[in-house]
């Protein structure tokens, strides 16, 4: 029998499994499966489409703000960025409609970028480390609040890319060993965790991509 075409019943009755599952467990499993079906996750191609659309929309949102001369000062840009992020978080909590999900993702991308732009404008000598710390703070605050697997996947990768840029830019190359070690430990811990909370699943995928992203950016720079 092809193992990939087993039903749940056949799997639970399999000689290797049946002694580990009690009749009560089976009753509970059947009751759980009979319950209202959870809305299935969007397939990868739809998530890619969402991500691309949101990036382009975010770009035009930033252009709109730039041409409106709303961020003449860094503080204004930071304020608008925070407003966008709050709006994005509120929208995802209020509605699951496709258009609003897209809008919230675009607002989150634009908000994150606007805060970074605002911080750069506020400081006299822009430094990659400041941008890195700012993004780390934004990411740490927004990640648990904003329910979007696309943002949760991309924001940590952006953090690692910024860390790589900072290490190369400031020529603190010995830190690269720590960065790679940290990436491997994070990926190992998250990917080997058997009961990973759904909040951390995008971070686990992100961690798996971090090491190639670091190596790629290291070679590009």
């Amino acid at each position: 029998m092809n193992q990939s075409s087993l039903t749940i019943k056949q799997l639970l009755e399999h000689p290797k499994v049946r002694d580990l599952v009690s009749p009560e467990d089976i009753e509970r499993i059947a009751a759980s499966l009979a319950g209202p079906e959870q809305p299935s996750k969007d397939p990868m191609y739809i998530r890619i489409l969402y991500g691309l659309g949101a990036w382009f929309a975010a770009l035009f949102l930033i252009l709109f703000i730039g041409i409106s001369q709303m961020f003449e000062s860094g503080a204004a840009s930071i304020f608008i960025g925070i407003t966008f992020l709050v709006a994005a978080i509120v929208i995802t909590r209020v509605s699951k409609a496709v258009f609003l999900s897209q809008l919230s993702l675009a607002l989150a991308f634009a908000g994150n970028i606007l805060i970074l732009v605002g911080v750069i404008a506020e400081i006299e000598k822009p430094d990659v480390l400041i941008i890195l710390i700012t993004h780390a703070v934004v990411c740490a605050v927004v990640y648990p609040l904003y329910v979007s697997s696309i943002y949760r996947f991309l924001a940590p990768i952006a953090l690692v890319v910024l860390a790589t840029v900072w290490i190369v830019d400031d020529e603190v190359f010995f830190l690269m060993h720590f960065l790679i070690a940290a990436e491997m430990i994070l990926a190992g811990v998250l990917l080997l965790h058997r009961k990973l909370p759904s909040l951390l699943i995008p971070l686990a995928y992100s961690a798996a991509v971090m090491l190639p992203a670091t190596l790629l950016f290291l070679n590009l720079m």
């Binding site: 039903t7 089976i26 489409l49 659309g53």
Partner: protein, 339 residues
């Protein structure tokens, strides 16, 4: 045990969820996981990956070996080493047989080494030939092996060589002499990849299982549509410089997109291909809307940027909604036809 819910197909995702919800103990989860994905699956996967990675790294090593030791080697040594490599690969491939993956990969390696041989030949004798001639020669020389290989990766290599030849021919001969327009190159590349895609689908329907890899479909479909999209976008952006062939390319893009949609929606039923076709159509549509919008207003008007951002979200959201709906309908149709 008479619960109908338990007749659903078991998957790793379901048992992981049951384990996470505390309905399946850790030991039961590990045992069930081992039944669904036995160790032999992982060994098979690892063997394949290591075979491909090992072959790719050895071939890269050979190329870098020549680059690094170029000055220190005589021409006979250079040719001798590469030819010996080709002969060894061919003999080993023959001994392993074309039904085994290792035999196929050895034939692929020999085909790559033919390209290395031609490149070394061109460098040693300074033939002065254009680069496109090297790629055409390479494609012609390995054609026999490609035909007997029954190996999708080798066919793809051959197609990449033909595509590269066409692009280099245009940039080295057609463009400087103003004899071939860019649109004709795009039409040619699209036709080449489109024909390969059609042959792949027909071959699969005729039972050629070695063509069943989904990535081959994705690569060929995207190569065809991208080749047609570039001149179509160019036509939209630079409408003033319109010529007949630009309109022809745009028309072919429409035909290819509609044909592809009908084929992958009703005949071959593949959501990933449908998603790619619709994503591509999205880009063209948004380019058209953007052109009209920014033409009718001023670039300094901030409201247009906001409006365009909302239009992007609307169009992409609409396409995502359509895809979701189509995926659900298609899943129902597949269930119906299976009954």
């Amino acid at each position: 045990m008479s619960h109908s819910e338990l007749n659903k197909t078991a998957g790793v995702g379901i048992i992981r969820k049951l384990n996470r919800d505390g309905l399946l103990s850790d030991d039961a989860f590990i045992a069930a996981n081992a039944v669904l994905r036995p160790a032999s699956c992982w060994f098979k996967w690892a063997r394949r990956i290591l075979l491909f990675l090992g072959s790719a790294l050895i071939l890269a090593g050979i190329i870098f070996f020549f680059a690094y030791n170029w000055a220190a080697m005589g021409r006979f040594l250079k040719f001798g080493l590469i030819e010996a490599g080709i002969v060894i690969c061919i003999i080993a491939s023959f001994l392993r047989g074309q039904k085994r993956l290792s035999g196929k990969v050895l034939l692929l390696s020999a085909s790559v080494l033919v390209g290395v041989l031609l490149a070394v030949y061109g460098q040693v004798y300074q033939t002065g030939a254009d680069a496109f001639e090297l790629f055409i020669g390479w494609a012609v020389l390995i054609l026999g092996w490609v035909i007997i290989s029954n190996f999708a990766a080798l066919w793809l290599l051959w197609l990449i060589l033909l595509n590269t030849s066409a692009i280099l021919y245009w940039s080295q001969v057609g463009r400087p002499a103003h004899t071939i327009r860019f649109e004709f190159l795009c039409l040619g590349v699209a036709f080449l990849n489109g024909a390969a895609l059609t042959l792949r689908e027909v071959g699969l329907l005729k039972g050629l299982q070695w063509l069943s890899a989904k990535w081959l479909r994705g690569i060929l479909l995207s190569a065809s549509l991208v080749a047609l999209s570039i001149p179509t976008i160019y036509l939209i952006v630079d409408f003033e410089g319109i010529v007949e062939v630009s309109v022809l390319t745009a028309f072919v893009w429409v035909v290819a997109s509609v044909g592809g949609y009908v084929c992958y929606r009703f005949k071959l039923r593949d959501m990933v291909s449908l998603a790619f076709i619709l994503m591509n159509a999205c880009i063209i549509l948004l380019t058209l809307i953007g052109r009209i919008l920014f033409d009718s207003t001023s670039f300094t008007d901030p409201g247009v940027y906001l409006l365009f951002a909302l239009i992007i979200l609307g169009v992409v959201g609409g396409v995502a909604f359509w895809l979701r709906k189509t995926a659900a309908t298609m899943a129902g149709e597949v269930k119906e036809s299976a009954k």
